[in-house]
Structures are given as C-alpha cells and as structure tokens.
Symmetry: C3
Subunit: 354 residues, 3 copies
C-alpha cells in the first residue's frame, strides 16, 4: 500500500543521507533566521492533532510553522473529536483543511494510520511508547551543530534506559555510524533493553555499563541525561549516582555536550545550567530549526511513500496498545521475520508467546 505523499513516521524510514540533508538545511535556516525573516510557509496551514497532551512538542511545531509565516489550526488539547469517530474519518476531514498534519496519539501506529488516509504529509509527534522521531531529529541536529560528526564518539546515557523512548532511538541512530561507544548508567531495574544492545553490536559499535556518572565521565563526548520518574523506582532508592552536579563535572572534557530531552526532574542540578557544557535549552531551540527543515522537505517532496512491505493476514496483533486493536476497519499488515510476525503498525513481534 502506497501513499502519494511523503510522511515522517519514523526516522529509520529514511536513510542517513536524508537525515544529514535535513540537518544541513536546518543549519542554513538557523543562520538565515538570525538576520532575516522568511515567509516560506506563507499561506500553508499545519493541523496539530494532539490526542494526547504534549504542550512542549506542540509549541515547538507551532513555532516552526509560524516562524516561517505559516499558520496553525489546532484540534485543542481537550477536544471532544474522535469520540465516536474513527481516526480515519478525523484524518480525512482534517487533511481537507490543511497542508500538513502533525499527530500525537497514545497508541502505537497511529501516525502510520494517519499516513494511510491523509491527502497531505503527516508527521509523527509521538505514537505512545513506540516512536518520537522529531525528538531524535532534535538530538542529532544538536550533535551535528556542536560536534560536526556522528562518528568516533563516546556517549554516556544516564537514568531510565528501560522506558526512555528517546535514548533508545538515539542509540539506534548513532549505531549506524562507525566507531561509536556507548556507556550506559541505568538506575537499578531500568536497564537498556536487549534489542537495543544487540542492535549496537550488530552494527559494529560497542557499549559498556557502569554504576555512576562520575566513573567514566572523563571519556564522554556526549552525556545524554533522561528524566527519572520517581514512581518507576523504589521509594528509598538513592538517586545520587544518577544526578549530574557541578561536582560530577569536575573531570569531564571541556567540550562535553550535555543533552536532555526535557522536562527534567532532579537529575540535573540547577547549578549545572550555568556551565557552558549544558546544552539542553539550546537543544530545545534547535528542535524548532530541525522541524522547519523537516516540514520543508515534506512539503517539497514529490515521491510516493511505501507504507507496508508485508501482507494482510488473518491475525490480530497481541500488543494492546497497537492502533489496530482500537480502529476496527484497519487491514492487519504483518511482515514474517525469524522471530515471528512483525505488526507493521506497532512493530510488535507476534510469536505466539505473549
């Protein structure tokens, strides 16, 4: 099944050359906007459909669009739409009202469903715990701006590595480049999942696991901090090894790049904000330029997008958070893999065991 439009459902739908093209254009736009105004998106309308609240991501997209003189129509965070209406119908309608759709949804695969039915490009602004590709674009663009390379890096990744969608995505992305080494600093019980570790090794990168930030901070080119949510860890668990302070930066490199997808909790001490290695607020600003570049690419793109490689099967996906479980009219596409049938909406492997 093909769509006539370009979409951005996952960053891995595009080859790394395409990423670099996006970053190169984002860099040009960033430099240009320091001195000039642009009305490149003038009279273009973006629909922001946030079925799940994410003010931060919504504002970033709205800023990207309006900075280029484009306009926004917003479903509203507490909209009553979609109650008793299929996602298909909502998308068909909204596509008739806009030039590009940005969708955030609680179920995995929702952005792909939007791509199936939209008569305009679709951007995935997060589909449940599945993908959040524009955050990864933001992270990589910041690396590109500050390190000018995606290779030969030592990257510390600290905090909740189990459920941190953005750290998974970053590790996968950087594994596609040569000679990167990852140092994981997970809280107890929140270790990096096996499939990410396997992916790293399979692509000839390496990783190790340590107990504290301080242990290896002197080797890091990048330190990717992630939010630790108190409700996911034991009540009395001491977080001090996972909190970045002025003290823990003592032995760090002078050009260390400290990143965080925000919002932060206590994992970065406020005093670190003044350190010139703290890039998390600049990172958020970079997200606007990365998104402008992405929107530009999608609006200009003229090629078809292939949405499914597999076949429609008489199976039902076992993942309860898969969009195909909630929108009944959807054809059930699966790809046969060694490990089982991979659902093409949510990427869950169905192997009869779950």
């Amino acid at each position: 099944m093909c769509s006539e439009y370009a979409h951005f459902v996952d960053i891995n739908d595009y080859p790394t050359e395409k990423w670099e093209e996006i970053f190169s254009k984002a860099h040009t736009i960033k430099e240009f906007l320091k001195n000039f105004r642009s009305n490149d998106f003038s009279e273009k309308v973006m629909a922001t459909l946030f079925f799940e609240n994410s003010t931060r991501t919504r504002l970033s997209f709205q800023s990207a669009m309006t900075t280029m003189a484009g306009d926004i129509i917003d479903l509203g965070e507490h909209s009553s739409i979609n109650k008793g209406e299929s996602l298909k119908d909502t998308i068909k309608m909204v596509a008739g009202y806009s030039d590009i759709i940005v969708i955030r949804h609680k179920y995995a695969g929702a952005a792909k469903v939007a791509s199936m039915y939209a008569t305009c490009p679709v951007i995935n602004a997060g589909d449940g715990e599945h993908f959040h590709p524009t955050q990864t674009l933001t992270d990589l663009f910041t690396l590109s701006e500050e390190k000018h390379t995606f290779s030969n890096l030592t990257i510390g990744v600290c905090g909740d590595l189990k459920l941190g969608r953005t750290s998974h995505s970053l590790c996968r992305a950087l594994s596609l480049y040569p000679n990167n080494h990852f140092v994981f600093i997970p809280c107890d019980g929140l270790e990096m999942p096996d499939d990410i570790c396997d992916f790293i090794l399979k692509h000839n990168c390496t990783y190790e696991v340590v107990k504290t930030i301080e242990e290896k901070i002197d080797t890091f080119d990048v330190l990717y901090m992630t939010r630790i949510q108190r409700e996911r860890i034991e009540y009395n668990y001491d977080l001090k090894n996972f909190i970045l302070t002025k003290q823990s930066l003592k032995t760090a490199k002078k050009d260390l790049l400290i990143l965080h997808p925000l919002p932060r909790n206590e994992e970065i001490s406020v005093e670190v904000d003044e350190d010139e290695r703290a890039f998390y607020f600049k990172q958020a600003t970079n997200g606007v330029y990365a998104r402008i570049s992405l929107i530009k690419m999608l609006l200009d793109h003229k090629e078809q997008t292939e949405l499914f490689q597999g076949e429609v099967m008489a199976l039902e996906c076992n993942n309860r958070n898969c969009i195909s479980r909630h929108e009944k009219y959807l054809p059930h596409y699966f790809v046969k893999t060694e490990k089982g049938f991979r659902c093409e909406y949510c990427d869950h492997i169905n192997n009869g065991l779950d």
Copy 2:
C-alpha cells in the same frame, strides 16, 4: 433595528441569487488555490467564539481564514468567559479585537444577538437546534460543484429527519428551486416535521416517504445521509434499512452524489468510502472554500442589515432555548403571523398553546 454591518445569521436572509454568487466565487477561489497562494485576508483577524464545542466547524473556519493568510483569535473551548458576563458585553469586547466574529452557541438566536451589538460582521456557526447555515452552504456548494444545477433533482434523505437541522435546511433551500423531488427514508419516530413537508409543497416541489434506502435508490441524484444517534432510537431497533452499504448501491445511478454532514456513526459502511460516488470527505473540504467566499462577501459588504421586522412587545418567548430567555436586557421582538407571534430571535411561534 439595523446594523451597519453584514451578517450571516441564516441562509434565508439572502436571496438565492446571493447564494449562487457565493458559490461562483467559491469555485473560482478553489481553482485559484490549486496553483497559487492568496493573502487576501492578510492582517484580518477572525474571532472564533465557540461557547459550545464543535471542533469540526471551528477548524473549518480557521482553515478558511488562515488559507487566505488571515489570523485567528480563539476564545478557547473551555473558556471561563461569559460566566457572569452578558453576551452583549462579550461581543462588544471581542468586536473591538477583531474584523469578523464567528459564533457557536447553545441557545437559538445567539448569533442574531451578536449581530445586534457587534461592530463587525458576524457569522452564525450554529445556534442550538435553530440554524447551522454554513453547513447548508457547504452542502449546496458541493451540489453546485458536482451537479451544476439545483433544479430537476431527486434527493434521498435518510436517517434521523426529526432532529437533523442540516437536512431541514437543505430541503428548505432546494424547495426554492423548480422541480425537485424529495424521498424521505426516516427511522421510525424520527420522521420529517410537518412544517418542512408543508414548505416543500407550498413551493411546488414534491416528496414521498419510503421504508428502506434500496427501495428508490435507483432514482436518486443525491443521497443525503444523516447521523443516527443510538440514544434517540429504541434499543433493539434494526437499523439495517438505513445503513448504506456497497450492496445497497448496486442499483444506484453512476453519478449519484452521496453526502453526509459528518461525523458519521455506522450509517455509512466504511467500504463505501472507496466508491467514487462517496463525496462526504470532499464535501468537508468544500466547506472551507464556501466559508472563504462567505467571509470575503461579508468583509467587502457595505450595506446595512435589517435585523428585526417586527415590534418590541410585552411578551416573553415560550421557547426555553431562546436566547431572549437567558439574556435579560434584550428587547422582545415579535412578528405577528397567522399562527401566532413569531419570536424574532428563535423563530418560535408563540400561540398561547405551549
């Protein structure tokens, strides 16, 4: 009482020649926007006041405005305004902030009240169960685009014909054109009201009532489906005669126009979406062009609007959903008719019987 501005409270406030002018301009705009951008509404500000939720209609207006480079200020769906403030005061304030006002309200006549006090044009985006004239504009524009005529048509109207404000409005509008025949297919207990049937006959059009979609579908030029809300019918009532399927389309004309104001429930089967006679999503898109054309007309309009033909009387309207019952400062305008005193806010006939 006159207003210095043009308003769009009801489609019947304008003669059919004006409708056709709107559609003709909407057609030109639609063709133009396929290839060009327009900034005709540049620096014009529309205020969207949705005191009652209607995301679909709000988005359509916002798309109309922003597509032409206009801007929106939105009251917000959960605004606390109007608590303890009169509608008059809200309108006076908002009119000072904008060039055109779009109002949706739960009480009949609210848009007329807005027209009384606004120092800019007002568009009625639905006032309770009373009017929803831009939906009718959308329906008629789609007919105009696809049939190129409003005469000599056979129009099937199916579903909830009792409370379906949009089907009433469509029947009234098409009755003003010669030689139209209506075929009603109502669910039990949800029949077309007598006043609409009388209106049709009075204007020399005709109608009949049938039991199933299939019965006469071979004669239809247009099939207007309406949403059936389960809570309005008996629990066990079989809807199958009122559901449009691939099967029921078998004997239909090749150029049948299937319309639906959306959102749909189960009354149109999803498989019908692929049929080229299914126009309901295109209809929604047409709504944007119809609204652009309307906004243009109102912003350009220089004539006064007469708001009341009757007189202020010492009566109170008996309709509990009439705006005059809820905004105490309003003068009570009535027109004396054969059947009783017609309230000029909500059009309720007060005859001492209710």
Copy 3:
C-alpha cells in the same frame, strides 16, 4: 542582576516620558490602521503563557499581535506544563520558541522571574494581586485619547477599592502628574488602602471620600468604575449608591469619561451603554493599540534592563503568594527600606511583624 532584553513587569519601571511615548505611538498606529494594513510583526512569534485563566487579556494580546501580522503560540488554558517543571525551565524552553513572551501567573513576581531567564522580552499580563500593568496602560491611553492630558483632573473611583489592583495602579500613575484630585466612593469595608492614599498625598495630589456616586459626580472629569464581587460584601448590603444609572448621570459633565476595566457585573446599568460618555467598550479596543505600541517598543529596544537593585539575603519572604516561596532555586533579593526588607519579587515589606 541584569537582563539583556527589555521587559514590562511594572509600569513604574519606566518614567512617565516613556509612557507618553508609548501612547503617542499607539495613537499613530490607531489612526494608521483605520486605513491601512501593517505587517510590522510579520514572522515574529509571541508566546502567550496564561498559567491562570484570563481570556479577555489573552485575546487582547493575540489581537495586538495578529493585527500586525505577527503570530501566536499559546500554552493553552488547561496546559499540563509546569506540573513538575520549574518556571525557569518552562521560560527557557518557550523563549527558544518565540520572540516575545506574555505571562499571566497566580503568584506575585512571576513576570520578574520570567524576565530573569528569558532570552527575549517579557510582558507581565498580571501576576496575582500584584501588578497588571497593561490594564493601566489601556486606562491611561484612553485618557490620553479623550482628555489629551493627565493633569488637572478630578477622578471618581467607585466600588471595590480594596482589592481592585487596577484602581490602585491608576491612582499611583496619575499621582505622578500635577494637580489631580481623587474622589473615592468605596463600598463599606472595601476602602482604598492607606499606602495608596499616602502615595497620592506624597506626590502633592489630593483625595476625598464620599458615600454615593451622585454626591460629587458633577465635578468628575473621569469616573473609574470597578467590578463589585458579591462574595466580598455582606449578603444584604445595598449596592444602590455604587451603581451607575442614567439617573445618576443627570448632573454629570458633558465630557465625563466613564471607564471600567471589564468585565462588569451590575455596577453599571445596561441603559448607560447608550450614553456617549460610556467609554468602557472603546477602552477595551484601545487596549489593543496600547499593547501593539508596547510590543513594538520592547521588540525594538536595545538596552539592558536592571532587574534587582538590592542584595541576595538569607531571608525568606513572608508573602505566601510570592513566587520566591514556590520556586525554590530563586535567589532571595531584598531592598532595605525604612519600614523593613522589601522583597524584590512581590514588593512585600518584611518587617518581622507578619
């Protein structure tokens, strides 16, 4: 502590010459926009952060921005942001997305905190019961438009003078001009606070207190009505002396200027709206021009702003509604005064007595 940007936290941060410059430009803009369009704010993005609901003020700012072809990103009235995120982090992020920030917050000093961390200008749209300087700007601009002077005026101020932030601010502002006389008409128990009365006398203006509107209305050049909230007065208290009616206007001057910050309750009778001395709706419209002029000034401004004059101390402010009590990372700045230590966030005097 300095900020590189210009901010508008309180009207008294600027000398009266600057106010007059704002009004003079606002007047020019108002005249210009009657005949022309402007795209002066084209591709500029304003972020409206209303942590506390104020639809009226939000709409006024959004109208100001969009009228000049600027764009808005809005946090949303029911945003979940700031739950578990510091105000600093929110501001840092939003500043990266926009060219100017408008903030409304329930705690005193929040706009100053925003000014500390924003990398763009900040406008205070109300910080709790502390300041609401753009309302005062609106009030003064209306005086400037209609009276062409801020001196030699007799100003009646009626209603709730105790908690009416806007009447306090107006009295302070007009006290800086020569030969003004204030006539207070407070409801019982809602008298003007001593510090405002002292301020008036200290600046060589005068005041008196009367019991009814009628008593001195014949002397008024301006009558500033304020909203009386029923829950702040005794159940059976008779408001008739504080309600402006057609009757009470009988002896008033022909060029009396009746103002009200809106929304009104019952304190101005609806019949007064038709009187040509009623300026409260025009006043609301003036608010848009005053805000446009202010935004222009801040965007063009190139000077640094000094945010604190005092020193960081090991004290905690005793005002429970001071932002410094709720954002723990803030340095505690105080200025030593005769009466005690004035907190530089909320202006509360800490003297060991409260």
